[in-house]
């Protein structure tokens, strides 16, 4: 028992590395916020674009969404970070992780929101058009809010997965919470920093998980 305390809950070790861990936590939160905002914006934009039913544009959107949903995000981050320098581009680890995770989130968001738009009864937009709203006004004020409501539960799950995936950035030298904890583990030969980092992730993610649980029970489909 004492060994367990020494190895995992060593307060002295945690306190020593707390400033580093805090910096890591801030990076993780920054990255998460940036990724979620840009990912949603691009994804919703693409879903709206897709409703124009332009054959060429839609082929590209479907291809984009399919590829980004099929490939492991870690693979994409590695390709961006280690591959692009051969072309003379030198993306930062943070920039790579942000771009890749936002693109992946946008692919899932596009699919979900577009499916939501399609699932709405046609009468909704016809009625809105008849009331004098323009095509775009109908999309933004009538269709989109309902479509997002329809897919809010899977969208929240995807957000949780995205925030968890920010830990992949540690692989390309981003000093996020996991990277700081791993470094501290190396310096101190003690697992306590990793344990503290785990608590940090739970702190960020638990509210989201609870929120998604409440959403699901509120929107549970009835038979």
């Amino acid at each position: 028992m004492n060994d367990l305390l020494q190895a995992f809950f060593n307060l002295n070790v945690i306190l020593t590395y707390l400033p580093d861990l805090w910096k890591g936590l801030v990076v993780t939160v920054e990255l998460s916020v940036l990724v979620v905002i840009t990912g949603f914006a691009i994804g919703i934009g693409l879903a709206l674009l897709r409703t124009l039913e332009n054959r060429v544009i839609n082929t590209f959107i479907v291809l984009y969404a399919d590829i980004l949903r099929a490939l492991p995000p870690l693979m994409l981050i590695v390709v961006g970070f280690f591959g692009l320098p051969y072309l003379g581009l030198k993306p930062s680890g943070f920039g790579t992780a942000w771009t890749v995770l936002a693109m992946v989130l946008s692919a899932f968001t596009e699919e979900l929101v577009f499916a939501g738009i399609n699932a709405l009864p046609k009468g909704q937009s016809e009625a809105a058009r008849a009331s004098g709203l323009t095509r775009w006004q109908v999309l933004i004020y009538v269709v989109l809010p309902q479509a997002i409501r329809l897919v809010i539960a899977p969208l929240t799950s995807r957000t949780i997965a995205t925030v968890k995936n920010t830990s992949l950035a540690s692989v390309v030298a981003v000093p996020d919470l996991l990277a700081e904890a791993s470094a501290a583990l190396g310096y101190s030969s003690n697992a306590s920093p990793l344990f503290a980092a785990a608590l940090g992730y739970l702190l960020i993610l638990f509210p989201l998980v609870i929120f998604s649980r409440r959403l699901e029970s509120r929107l549970r489909w009835t038979h």
Binding site: P72, Y86, A115, A119, A198, L205, R220
Partner: protein, 224 residues
């Protein structure tokens, strides 16, 4: 353009590294065939236990699910692989990966299967019980088959995510597809191995993505 082709789509290099990548692909497949069934099985066990409606047990199971849904799998993997040895639990990279991924995916599968079980009307259970089936038989032959059908798209999404997740095994130097590609890329000073690995992932997972999209659309239409 020429530089791009040389660095990213170099046929010579692709030929050289193909055998290595195929070994990596094999490891990825083996890992997937271990993790996915164990995850599904774990998920079914958890959700069937939840259906017993024993309060303290349910609280424990919900905590398990929420905990592993909130815990980044890479952090879990590093915790198991680099942290547990401090307690005297040495794990091989394979053991660490399987443990981390099964903890993670079983929580996700449990959520999906539970939603499925709850989507089966209670009357079905009562009717099945009235015909003389036992509780376990009712679950096995009446509830679960319908539950699985009702949440098929979510189940398949989870399978897709689980297979993609095996790529984090590369971080603990397990020789799966991404790791082999990364090593080959380092040896060759060329990105082609990574692109080739991406194509292998696509060949493996794209059909699944298409299938999920099709079924999802159908079930959302039915609901909406």
């Amino acid at each position: 353009m020429e530089n791009f082709l040389f660095q990213f789509l170099n046929v010579e290099i692709a030929k050289t590294v193909l055998p290595q990548l195929l070994i990596g692909l094999k490891t990825t497949l083996i890992l997937s065939f271990i993790v996915v069934p164990l995850g599904v099985l774990g998920g079914i066990v958890i959700s069937v236990l939840q259906d017993l409606r024993i309060r303290p047990l349910n609280m424990l199971l919900v905590t398990y699910i929420d905990f592993f849904r909130a815990f980044p799998p890479l952090v879990l993997l590093i915790f198991i692989y680099y942290g547990l040895p401090f307690l005297g639990f040495e794990t091989s990279s394979m053991q660490a990966v399987v443990l981390a991924l099964v903890f993670n995916t079983s929580a996700y599968f449990a959520e999906v299967v539970r939603a499925g079980i709850e989507s089966v009307p209670r009357g079905q259970v009562e009717a099945a019980r009235a015909t003389g089936l036992g509780t376990a038989q009712t679950m096995r032959w009446v509830v679960l088959p319908q539950a699985v059908r009702n949440v098929l798209p979510d189940l398949m999404s989870n399978v897709l995510e689980s297979i993609k997740l095996t790529s984090i095994a590369s971080v603990v130097t397990m020789p799966e597809l991404l790791r082999m590609a990364r090593v080959a890329q380092g040896n060759m000073f060329n990105t082609t191995p990574l692109i080739l690995a991406a194509l292998m992932y696509l060949a493996l997972l794209w059909p699944l993505v298409r299938l999920i999209t099709t079924i999802e659309r159908r079930s959302l239409k039915a609901r909406g």
